[in-house]
Protein backbone atom coordinates (compact mmCIF):
# COMPACT_ATOMS: atom_id res chain seq x y z
CA UNK A 1 0.00 0.00 0.00
CA UNK A 2 1.43 3.37 -0.93
CA UNK A 3 2.07 5.87 1.82
CA UNK A 4 -0.24 8.43 0.29
CA UNK A 5 -3.13 5.96 0.19
CA UNK A 6 -2.43 4.86 3.75
CA UNK A 7 -2.42 8.44 4.95
CA UNK A 8 -5.67 9.11 3.17
CA UNK A 9 -7.33 6.09 4.76
CA UNK A 10 -6.02 7.19 8.11
CA UNK A 11 -7.35 10.72 7.69
CA UNK A 12 -10.78 9.50 6.65
CA UNK A 13 -10.87 6.95 9.48
CA UNK A 14 -9.94 9.63 11.97
CA UNK A 15 -12.67 11.80 10.46
CA UNK A 16 -15.20 9.08 11.23
CA UNK A 17 -13.91 8.53 14.74
CA UNK A 18 -13.58 12.18 15.65
CA UNK A 19 -17.33 12.54 15.25
CA UNK A 20 -17.96 9.81 17.79
CA UNK A 21 -16.77 10.48 21.32
CA UNK A 22 -14.54 7.42 21.48
CA UNK A 23 -10.95 7.84 20.31
CA UNK A 24 -9.25 5.76 17.62
CA UNK A 25 -6.99 4.21 20.22
CA UNK A 26 -9.91 2.99 22.29
CA UNK A 27 -11.58 1.49 19.21
CA UNK A 28 -8.39 -0.35 18.39
CA UNK A 29 -8.11 -1.64 21.95
CA UNK A 30 -11.67 -2.87 21.81
CA UNK A 31 -11.05 -4.61 18.47
CA UNK A 32 -7.94 -6.18 20.00
CA UNK A 33 -9.90 -7.52 22.97
CA UNK A 34 -12.69 -8.78 20.70
CA UNK A 35 -10.21 -10.70 18.53
CA UNK A 36 -8.76 -12.30 21.66
CA UNK A 37 -12.20 -13.33 22.91
CA UNK A 38 -13.16 -14.76 19.51
CA UNK A 39 -9.87 -16.70 19.25
CA UNK A 40 -10.47 -18.18 22.70
CA UNK A 41 -14.03 -19.13 21.75
CA UNK A 42 -12.88 -20.65 18.46
CA UNK A 43 -10.20 -22.69 20.21
CA UNK A 44 -12.75 -23.88 22.78
CA UNK A 45 -15.34 -25.12 20.25
CA UNK A 46 -13.98 -28.65 19.77
CA UNK A 47 -12.54 -29.07 23.28
CA UNK A 48 -14.42 -30.77 26.13
CA UNK A 49 -16.08 -28.22 28.39
CA UNK A 50 -14.41 -29.36 31.61
CA UNK A 51 -10.98 -29.03 29.96
CA UNK A 52 -11.13 -25.83 27.92
CA UNK A 53 -14.36 -23.90 28.48
CA UNK A 54 -15.61 -21.13 26.26
CA UNK A 55 -16.58 -17.72 27.62
CA UNK A 56 -20.22 -18.66 28.08
CA UNK A 57 -19.22 -21.74 30.05
CA UNK A 58 -17.09 -19.56 32.34
CA UNK A 59 -19.93 -17.10 32.91
CA UNK A 60 -22.23 -20.08 33.40
CA UNK A 61 -19.90 -21.47 36.06
CA UNK A 62 -19.94 -18.09 37.78
CA UNK A 63 -23.72 -17.99 37.84
CA UNK A 64 -23.84 -21.57 39.17
CA UNK A 65 -21.41 -20.63 41.93
CA UNK A 66 -23.60 -17.64 42.67
CA UNK A 67 -26.80 -19.68 42.65
CA UNK A 68 -25.36 -22.32 44.96
CA UNK A 69 -24.95 -19.52 47.48
CA UNK A 70 -21.24 -20.10 47.82
CA UNK A 71 -19.94 -17.09 45.97
CA UNK A 72 -21.18 -14.17 48.06
CA UNK A 73 -20.07 -15.44 51.51
CA UNK A 74 -16.71 -16.45 50.02
CA UNK A 75 -16.29 -13.04 48.46
CA UNK A 76 -17.17 -11.38 51.75
CA UNK A 77 -14.63 -13.51 53.62
CA UNK A 78 -11.95 -12.78 51.05
CA UNK A 79 -12.65 -9.06 51.12
CA UNK A 80 -12.39 -9.07 54.90
CA UNK A 81 -8.88 -10.55 54.70
CA UNK A 82 -7.99 -8.20 51.88
CA UNK A 83 -9.12 -5.00 53.56
CA UNK A 84 -7.64 -5.76 56.96
CA UNK A 85 -4.26 -6.69 55.47
CA UNK A 86 -4.27 -3.71 53.13
CA UNK A 87 -5.35 -1.32 55.88
CA UNK A 88 -2.52 -2.50 58.13
CA UNK A 89 -0.06 -2.14 55.25
CA UNK A 90 -1.21 1.46 54.70
CA UNK A 91 -1.06 2.52 58.34
CA UNK A 92 2.43 1.05 58.69
CA UNK A 93 3.79 1.74 55.21
CA UNK A 94 2.76 5.38 54.78
CA UNK A 95 4.25 6.69 58.07
CA UNK A 96 7.37 4.60 57.44
CA UNK A 97 7.80 6.05 53.95
CA UNK A 98 7.13 9.57 55.18
CA UNK A 99 9.61 9.37 58.03
CA UNK A 100 12.22 7.96 55.66
CA UNK A 101 11.54 10.89 53.37
CA UNK A 102 11.89 13.41 56.21
CA UNK A 103 14.93 11.76 57.79
CA UNK A 104 17.85 10.97 55.52
CA UNK A 105 19.64 8.96 58.16
CA UNK A 106 16.69 6.62 58.65
CA UNK A 107 16.31 6.33 54.88
CA UNK A 108 19.92 5.31 54.29
CA UNK A 109 19.60 2.78 57.11
CA UNK A 110 16.38 1.09 55.98
CA UNK A 111 16.58 1.53 52.21
CA UNK A 112 18.81 -1.48 51.42
CA UNK A 113 16.62 -3.85 53.42
CA UNK A 114 13.34 -2.57 52.04
CA UNK A 115 14.67 -2.71 48.49
CA UNK A 116 15.97 -6.24 49.02
CA UNK A 117 12.61 -7.39 50.37
CA UNK A 118 10.87 -5.60 47.52
CA UNK A 119 12.73 -7.61 44.87
CA UNK A 120 12.76 -10.85 46.88
CA UNK A 121 9.91 -13.31 46.31
CA UNK A 122 7.74 -12.55 49.37
CA UNK A 123 5.54 -15.53 48.59
CA UNK A 124 8.45 -17.76 49.66
CA UNK A 125 7.76 -16.63 53.23
CA UNK A 126 4.33 -18.26 53.22
CA UNK A 127 5.57 -21.66 54.51
CA UNK A 128 7.18 -19.89 57.48
CA UNK A 129 4.01 -17.89 58.13
CA UNK A 130 2.10 -21.18 58.19
CA UNK A 131 4.56 -22.62 60.73
CA UNK A 132 4.32 -19.56 62.94
CA UNK A 133 0.67 -18.61 62.64
CA UNK A 134 -0.96 -21.86 61.65
CA UNK A 135 -3.82 -22.13 59.19
CA UNK A 136 -5.57 -19.06 60.54
CA UNK A 137 -7.17 -15.82 59.46
CA UNK A 138 -4.23 -13.91 60.97
CA UNK A 139 -1.76 -15.77 58.76
CA UNK A 140 -3.70 -14.84 55.67
CA UNK A 141 -3.86 -11.19 56.75
CA UNK A 142 -0.09 -11.30 57.31
CA UNK A 143 0.48 -12.45 53.72
CA UNK A 144 -1.71 -9.64 52.33
CA UNK A 145 0.15 -7.16 54.55
CA UNK A 146 3.57 -8.34 53.35
CA UNK A 147 2.49 -8.30 49.71
CA UNK A 148 1.24 -4.71 49.89
CA UNK A 149 3.53 -2.91 52.30
CA UNK A 150 6.75 -2.58 50.29
CA UNK A 151 5.02 -1.07 47.28
CA UNK A 152 3.32 1.49 49.55
CA UNK A 153 6.44 2.33 51.58
CA UNK A 154 8.72 2.71 48.56
CA UNK A 155 6.28 4.90 46.62
CA UNK A 156 5.54 7.10 49.65
CA UNK A 157 9.26 7.48 50.29
CA UNK A 158 9.86 8.32 46.63
CA UNK A 159 7.34 11.15 46.80
CA UNK A 160 8.67 12.57 50.07
CA UNK A 161 12.26 12.30 48.85
CA UNK A 162 11.60 14.14 45.61
CA UNK A 163 9.81 17.09 47.21
CA UNK A 164 11.39 20.08 45.44
CA UNK A 165 14.14 21.47 47.65
CA UNK A 166 13.50 25.04 46.55
CA UNK A 167 10.01 24.95 48.07
CA UNK A 168 11.37 23.57 51.33
CA UNK A 169 14.07 26.25 51.26
CA UNK A 170 11.50 28.99 50.77
CA UNK A 171 9.50 27.67 53.73
CA UNK A 172 12.66 27.49 55.81
CA UNK A 173 13.75 31.02 54.93
CA UNK A 174 10.35 32.23 56.16
CA UNK A 175 11.05 30.52 59.45
CA UNK A 176 8.81 27.49 59.01
CA UNK A 177 9.09 24.80 61.65
CA UNK A 178 9.85 21.19 60.82
CA UNK A 179 6.22 20.29 61.47
CA UNK A 180 4.98 23.09 59.23
CA UNK A 181 7.25 21.89 56.40
CA UNK A 182 5.96 18.36 56.86
CA UNK A 183 2.31 19.39 57.03
CA UNK A 184 2.25 22.10 54.35
CA UNK A 185 5.00 21.12 51.91
CA UNK A 186 6.04 17.48 52.06
CA UNK A 187 2.64 15.94 52.76
CA UNK A 188 0.72 17.75 49.99
CA UNK A 189 3.49 16.94 47.55
CA UNK A 190 3.61 13.33 48.68
CA UNK A 191 -0.14 12.64 48.78
CA UNK A 192 -0.48 11.77 45.07
CA UNK A 193 2.46 9.40 45.50
CA UNK A 194 0.80 7.82 48.53
CA UNK A 195 -2.28 7.19 46.45
CA UNK A 196 -0.16 5.78 43.64
CA UNK A 197 1.49 3.45 46.13
CA UNK A 198 -1.89 2.38 47.47
CA UNK A 199 -3.07 1.76 43.91
CA UNK A 200 -0.10 -0.49 43.22
CA UNK A 201 -0.39 -2.02 46.68
CA UNK A 202 -4.04 -2.98 46.40
CA UNK A 203 -3.32 -4.94 43.22
CA UNK A 204 -0.61 -6.86 45.04
CA UNK A 205 -2.88 -7.29 48.05
CA UNK A 206 -5.44 -9.11 45.90
CA UNK A 207 -2.69 -11.44 44.67
CA UNK A 208 -1.45 -12.03 48.21
CA UNK A 209 -4.98 -12.71 49.41
CA UNK A 210 -5.70 -15.41 46.86
CA UNK A 211 -2.27 -17.00 47.31
CA UNK A 212 -2.87 -17.16 51.05
CA UNK A 213 -6.29 -18.69 50.57
CA UNK A 214 -4.88 -21.30 48.23
CA UNK A 215 -1.91 -22.19 50.43
CA UNK A 216 -2.55 -21.45 54.09
CA UNK A 217 -6.05 -22.73 54.60
CA UNK A 218 -8.40 -23.48 51.80
CA UNK A 219 -10.75 -20.65 52.57
CA UNK A 220 -13.23 -18.44 50.77
CA UNK A 221 -12.49 -17.88 47.07
CA UNK A 222 -9.31 -19.95 47.34
CA UNK A 223 -11.34 -22.91 48.57
CA UNK A 224 -13.72 -22.51 45.63
CA UNK A 225 -10.75 -22.64 43.25
CA UNK A 226 -9.43 -25.76 44.96
CA UNK A 227 -12.84 -27.44 44.80
CA UNK A 228 -13.12 -26.67 41.11
CA UNK A 229 -9.57 -27.96 40.57
CA UNK A 230 -10.33 -31.23 42.34
CA UNK A 231 -13.48 -31.67 40.27
CA UNK A 232 -11.41 -30.94 37.14
CA UNK A 233 -13.73 -28.05 36.42
CA UNK A 234 -11.56 -25.48 34.63
CA UNK A 235 -14.54 -23.17 34.11
CA UNK A 236 -14.96 -22.97 37.89
CA UNK A 237 -11.31 -21.94 38.28
CA UNK A 238 -11.43 -19.38 35.49
CA UNK A 239 -14.66 -17.81 36.74
CA UNK A 240 -12.96 -17.00 40.05
CA UNK A 241 -9.87 -15.73 38.20
CA UNK A 242 -12.15 -13.45 36.20
CA UNK A 243 -13.85 -12.28 39.39
CA UNK A 244 -10.48 -11.52 40.99
CA UNK A 245 -9.35 -9.57 37.93
CA UNK A 246 -12.50 -7.49 38.04
CA UNK A 247 -12.06 -6.98 41.78
CA UNK A 248 -8.49 -5.77 41.26
CA UNK A 249 -9.57 -3.43 38.47
CA UNK A 250 -12.43 -1.98 40.52
CA UNK A 251 -10.24 -1.34 43.57
CA UNK A 252 -7.54 0.24 41.41
CA UNK A 253 -10.15 2.38 39.68
CA UNK A 254 -11.68 3.51 42.98
CA UNK A 255 -8.28 4.55 44.31
CA UNK A 256 -7.54 6.37 41.06
CA UNK A 257 -10.78 8.32 41.28
CA UNK A 258 -10.22 9.01 44.97
CA UNK A 259 -6.79 10.38 44.16
CA UNK A 260 -8.18 12.63 41.42
CA UNK A 261 -10.84 13.88 43.80
CA UNK A 262 -8.72 14.30 46.92
CA UNK A 263 -5.53 15.64 45.38
CA UNK A 264 -6.78 17.91 42.61
CA UNK A 265 -3.47 19.84 42.59
CA UNK A 266 -1.75 16.82 41.09
CA UNK A 267 -4.26 14.15 40.13
CA UNK A 268 -1.82 11.47 39.08
CA UNK A 269 1.83 10.58 39.21
CA UNK A 270 3.59 7.90 37.24
CA UNK A 271 5.81 5.74 39.30
Amino acid sequence: MSTALRDQIKVSLEGIFSRSRISVGLWESMVGILIGILLWEWYATDKPVFFFPGWFDILDALSVQFAEGELIPSLQGSLQTLFLGFFLAVIVGVPLGLSMGMNERLASLLNPYINALYVAPISALVPIIILVGGASFESRVAVVFLFAIFEITITTYEGARTTPNRIIDVAKSFGASRYFIFRRVVLPYDLPYIFAGMRLGVGRAVKGMILAELLISWANLGAMIRTAQNNINVAGVLSIVLLLMILGLILTFVLKKASQYLTPWQPEVNV
Binding site: S29, S108, S123, L125, P127, I128, L211, I225, V234, G248
Partner: protein, 245 residues
Protein backbone atom coordinates in the same frame (compact mmCIF):
# COMPACT_ATOMS: atom_id res chain seq x y z
CA UNK B 1 28.61 5.00 53.04
CA UNK B 2 29.86 7.37 55.70
CA UNK B 3 30.88 6.51 59.24
CA UNK B 4 27.48 7.37 60.64
CA UNK B 5 25.91 4.99 58.15
CA UNK B 6 28.17 2.12 59.24
CA UNK B 7 27.36 2.90 62.85
CA UNK B 8 23.60 2.85 62.17
CA UNK B 9 23.83 -0.43 60.31
CA UNK B 10 25.89 -1.96 63.12
CA UNK B 11 23.26 -0.92 65.69
CA UNK B 12 20.48 -2.23 63.47
CA UNK B 13 22.32 -5.51 63.02
CA UNK B 14 22.79 -5.91 66.78
CA UNK B 15 19.10 -5.19 67.40
CA UNK B 16 18.05 -7.76 64.80
CA UNK B 17 20.42 -10.40 66.23
CA UNK B 18 19.19 -9.73 69.76
CA UNK B 19 15.54 -10.02 68.72
CA UNK B 20 16.32 -13.20 66.82
CA UNK B 21 18.13 -14.70 69.82
CA UNK B 22 15.18 -13.88 72.07
CA UNK B 23 12.92 -15.42 69.43
CA UNK B 24 15.01 -18.61 69.33
CA UNK B 25 14.93 -18.92 73.11
CA UNK B 26 11.29 -18.01 73.65
CA UNK B 27 9.58 -19.77 70.77
CA UNK B 28 9.72 -23.25 69.33
CA UNK B 29 9.71 -22.50 65.63
CA UNK B 30 12.77 -20.28 65.11
CA UNK B 31 15.83 -22.37 64.24
CA UNK B 32 19.34 -21.12 64.96
CA UNK B 33 21.48 -20.12 61.96
CA UNK B 34 23.68 -23.22 62.33
CA UNK B 35 20.61 -25.45 62.41
CA UNK B 36 19.58 -23.89 59.10
CA UNK B 37 23.10 -24.47 57.81
CA UNK B 38 23.01 -28.12 58.85
CA UNK B 39 19.61 -28.56 57.26
CA UNK B 40 20.91 -27.10 54.02
CA UNK B 41 23.97 -29.37 54.10
CA UNK B 42 21.80 -32.38 54.79
CA UNK B 43 19.47 -31.52 51.91
CA UNK B 44 22.48 -31.26 49.61
CA UNK B 45 23.91 -34.58 50.76
CA UNK B 46 20.61 -36.40 50.44
CA UNK B 47 20.49 -35.18 46.84
CA UNK B 48 17.15 -33.42 47.30
CA UNK B 49 18.23 -29.89 46.63
CA UNK B 50 20.18 -30.25 43.39
CA UNK B 51 17.34 -31.70 41.26
CA UNK B 52 14.87 -29.12 42.58
CA UNK B 53 17.38 -26.35 41.97
CA UNK B 54 18.17 -27.64 38.48
CA UNK B 55 14.49 -27.76 37.56
CA UNK B 56 13.95 -24.26 38.95
CA UNK B 57 16.93 -22.71 37.16
CA UNK B 58 15.92 -24.48 33.96
CA UNK B 59 12.37 -23.11 34.18
CA UNK B 60 13.62 -19.60 34.93
CA UNK B 61 16.19 -19.72 32.12
CA UNK B 62 13.74 -20.92 29.47
CA UNK B 63 10.82 -18.74 30.56
CA UNK B 64 13.00 -15.66 30.91
CA UNK B 65 14.72 -16.27 27.57
CA UNK B 66 11.38 -16.50 25.76
CA UNK B 67 10.17 -13.39 27.62
CA UNK B 68 13.24 -11.47 26.43
CA UNK B 69 13.04 -12.49 22.77
CA UNK B 70 9.29 -11.85 22.68
CA UNK B 71 9.11 -8.88 25.03
CA UNK B 72 11.70 -6.55 23.51
CA UNK B 73 10.39 -6.58 19.89
CA UNK B 74 6.78 -6.32 21.05
CA UNK B 75 7.62 -3.45 23.39
CA UNK B 76 9.61 -1.59 20.73
CA UNK B 77 6.81 -2.06 18.19
CA UNK B 78 4.31 -0.71 20.74
CA UNK B 79 6.53 2.27 21.43
CA UNK B 80 7.07 3.15 17.78
CA UNK B 81 3.52 2.68 16.50
CA UNK B 82 0.56 3.86 18.55
CA UNK B 83 -1.86 1.60 16.67
CA UNK B 84 0.12 -1.47 17.69
CA UNK B 85 0.21 0.04 21.16
CA UNK B 86 -3.52 0.46 21.58
CA UNK B 87 -4.13 -2.95 19.97
CA UNK B 88 -1.86 -4.85 22.36
CA UNK B 89 -2.21 -2.67 25.46
CA UNK B 90 -5.22 -4.55 26.92
CA UNK B 91 -3.25 -7.81 26.79
CA UNK B 92 -0.16 -6.37 28.46
CA UNK B 93 -2.34 -4.91 31.20
CA UNK B 94 -4.23 -8.18 31.56
CA UNK B 95 -0.93 -10.00 32.15
CA UNK B 96 -0.28 -7.59 35.00
CA UNK B 97 -3.76 -7.81 36.50
CA UNK B 98 -4.28 -11.60 36.35
CA UNK B 99 -3.62 -13.25 39.71
CA UNK B 100 -1.46 -16.09 38.42
CA UNK B 101 -1.61 -17.98 41.68
CA UNK B 102 -5.34 -18.41 41.08
CA UNK B 103 -4.68 -19.45 37.50
CA UNK B 104 -2.11 -22.14 38.38
CA UNK B 105 -4.82 -24.75 39.23
CA UNK B 106 -6.19 -24.37 35.71
CA UNK B 107 -2.69 -24.47 34.23
CA UNK B 108 -2.02 -27.70 36.13
CA UNK B 109 -5.08 -29.29 34.56
CA UNK B 110 -3.91 -28.16 31.12
CA UNK B 111 -0.19 -28.86 31.35
CA UNK B 112 0.40 -31.17 34.33
CA UNK B 113 2.75 -30.53 37.22
CA UNK B 114 5.99 -30.55 35.22
CA UNK B 115 8.15 -27.82 33.85
CA UNK B 116 5.63 -26.41 31.33
CA UNK B 117 3.57 -24.66 34.00
CA UNK B 118 6.70 -23.22 35.58
CA UNK B 119 8.05 -21.97 32.26
CA UNK B 120 4.69 -20.47 31.36
CA UNK B 121 4.23 -18.61 34.64
CA UNK B 122 7.85 -17.43 34.63
CA UNK B 123 7.35 -16.16 31.08
CA UNK B 124 4.23 -14.18 31.94
CA UNK B 125 5.78 -12.74 35.07
CA UNK B 126 8.99 -11.68 33.32
CA UNK B 127 7.53 -10.41 30.06
CA UNK B 128 5.49 -7.57 31.58
CA UNK B 129 8.29 -5.21 32.74
CA UNK B 130 10.36 -6.07 29.66
CA UNK B 131 7.52 -5.02 27.32
CA UNK B 132 6.67 -1.93 29.37
CA UNK B 133 10.24 -0.67 29.52
CA UNK B 134 11.04 -1.36 25.87
CA UNK B 135 7.85 0.49 24.94
CA UNK B 136 8.64 3.45 27.18
CA UNK B 137 12.18 3.69 25.80
CA UNK B 138 11.08 3.60 22.18
CA UNK B 139 8.28 6.08 22.82
CA UNK B 140 10.49 8.65 24.53
CA UNK B 141 13.40 8.73 22.06
CA UNK B 142 14.69 12.33 22.39
CA UNK B 143 13.17 14.21 19.45
CA UNK B 144 15.30 17.32 19.87
CA UNK B 145 18.55 15.36 19.61
CA UNK B 146 17.29 13.56 16.51
CA UNK B 147 16.31 16.90 14.94
CA UNK B 148 19.71 18.35 15.76
CA UNK B 149 21.55 15.37 14.30
CA UNK B 150 19.39 15.52 11.18
CA UNK B 151 20.04 19.21 10.66
CA UNK B 152 23.76 18.42 10.74
CA UNK B 153 23.20 15.91 7.96
CA UNK B 154 23.28 12.69 9.97
CA UNK B 155 21.85 9.66 8.19
CA UNK B 156 19.28 7.26 9.62
CA UNK B 157 21.88 4.68 10.67
CA UNK B 158 23.86 7.31 12.54
CA UNK B 159 20.77 8.52 14.38
CA UNK B 160 19.74 4.99 15.37
CA UNK B 161 23.28 4.05 16.36
CA UNK B 162 24.09 7.17 18.38
CA UNK B 163 20.77 8.50 19.71
CA UNK B 164 17.91 6.02 19.63
CA UNK B 165 19.87 2.93 20.68
CA UNK B 166 21.72 4.44 23.66
CA UNK B 167 18.42 5.86 24.88
CA UNK B 168 16.48 2.64 24.32
CA UNK B 169 19.11 0.31 25.72
CA UNK B 170 19.04 1.87 29.18
CA UNK B 171 15.29 1.24 29.35
CA UNK B 172 15.57 -2.30 28.00
CA UNK B 173 18.31 -3.24 30.45
CA UNK B 174 16.25 -1.87 33.34
CA UNK B 175 13.33 -3.95 32.06
CA UNK B 176 15.54 -7.03 31.98
CA UNK B 177 16.53 -6.40 35.60
CA UNK B 178 12.93 -6.03 36.74
CA UNK B 179 12.03 -9.04 34.61
CA UNK B 180 14.46 -11.44 36.30
CA UNK B 181 13.13 -10.47 39.72
CA UNK B 182 9.58 -11.15 38.62
CA UNK B 183 10.69 -14.39 36.93
CA UNK B 184 11.89 -15.70 40.28
CA UNK B 185 8.64 -14.56 41.92
CA UNK B 186 6.64 -16.45 39.30
CA UNK B 187 8.71 -19.55 39.83
CA UNK B 188 8.29 -19.41 43.61
CA UNK B 189 4.51 -19.13 43.30
CA UNK B 190 4.31 -22.20 41.08
CA UNK B 191 6.70 -24.10 43.37
CA UNK B 192 4.48 -23.33 46.35
CA UNK B 193 1.25 -24.22 44.61
CA UNK B 194 2.49 -27.41 42.98
CA UNK B 195 3.45 -29.47 46.00
CA UNK B 196 4.01 -32.62 43.94
CA UNK B 197 7.42 -31.69 42.50
CA UNK B 198 10.52 -29.57 43.06
CA UNK B 199 10.88 -27.14 45.95
CA UNK B 200 7.15 -27.41 46.58
CA UNK B 201 7.59 -31.08 47.47
CA UNK B 202 10.52 -30.28 49.78
CA UNK B 203 8.61 -27.50 51.57
CA UNK B 204 5.56 -29.69 51.86
CA UNK B 205 7.58 -32.54 53.35
CA UNK B 206 9.46 -30.44 55.92
CA UNK B 207 6.35 -28.51 56.92
CA UNK B 208 4.45 -31.75 57.49
CA UNK B 209 7.27 -33.10 59.67
CA UNK B 210 7.54 -29.74 61.48
CA UNK B 211 11.24 -29.59 60.57
CA UNK B 212 11.55 -25.84 60.92
CA UNK B 213 15.20 -25.64 59.91
CA UNK B 214 14.43 -27.54 56.71
CA UNK B 215 11.65 -25.10 55.79
CA UNK B 216 13.78 -22.06 56.64
CA UNK B 217 16.71 -23.27 54.52
CA UNK B 218 14.54 -23.72 51.42
CA UNK B 219 12.77 -20.39 51.97
CA UNK B 220 16.07 -18.55 52.41
CA UNK B 221 17.44 -20.23 49.30
CA UNK B 222 14.47 -19.07 47.23
CA UNK B 223 14.62 -15.51 48.54
CA UNK B 224 18.37 -15.35 48.00
CA UNK B 225 17.83 -16.53 44.47
CA UNK B 226 15.56 -13.55 43.82
CA UNK B 227 17.85 -10.98 45.43
CA UNK B 228 21.07 -12.29 43.86
CA UNK B 229 19.64 -12.51 40.34
CA UNK B 230 18.41 -8.91 40.45
CA UNK B 231 21.66 -7.72 42.02
CA UNK B 232 23.69 -9.46 39.29
CA UNK B 233 21.69 -7.82 36.53
CA UNK B 234 22.04 -4.49 38.33
CA UNK B 235 25.83 -4.83 38.21
CA UNK B 236 25.71 -5.74 34.51
CA UNK B 237 23.34 -2.80 33.95
CA UNK B 238 25.73 -0.30 35.48
CA UNK B 239 28.54 -1.65 33.24
CA UNK B 240 26.51 -1.46 30.02
CA UNK B 241 24.62 1.75 30.66
CA UNK B 242 27.56 3.70 32.06
CA UNK B 243 26.36 6.96 30.48
CA UNK B 244 23.21 7.06 32.64
CA UNK B 245 24.54 7.46 36.14
Amino acid sequence: MDRQGYFDHAIFFIVVITLYTIGVMQTTFLPTPWEIGYALEEQFEQGLLIPALEAAVYAIAVGYFIAVIVGIPVGVAMGIDRHVNSFLNPYVNAIYVVPFSALVPALVIWFGTGYQVRVLVVFFFAVFPIVMNSQEGARTAPENLIEAARSFGADRLYIIRNIVLPHEISYVVAGLRLGIGRAVKGLVITELLISATGFGLLLHRYSARLEFAGVFSVVLLLMTMGIVSVWTLKQIESRIVHWEA
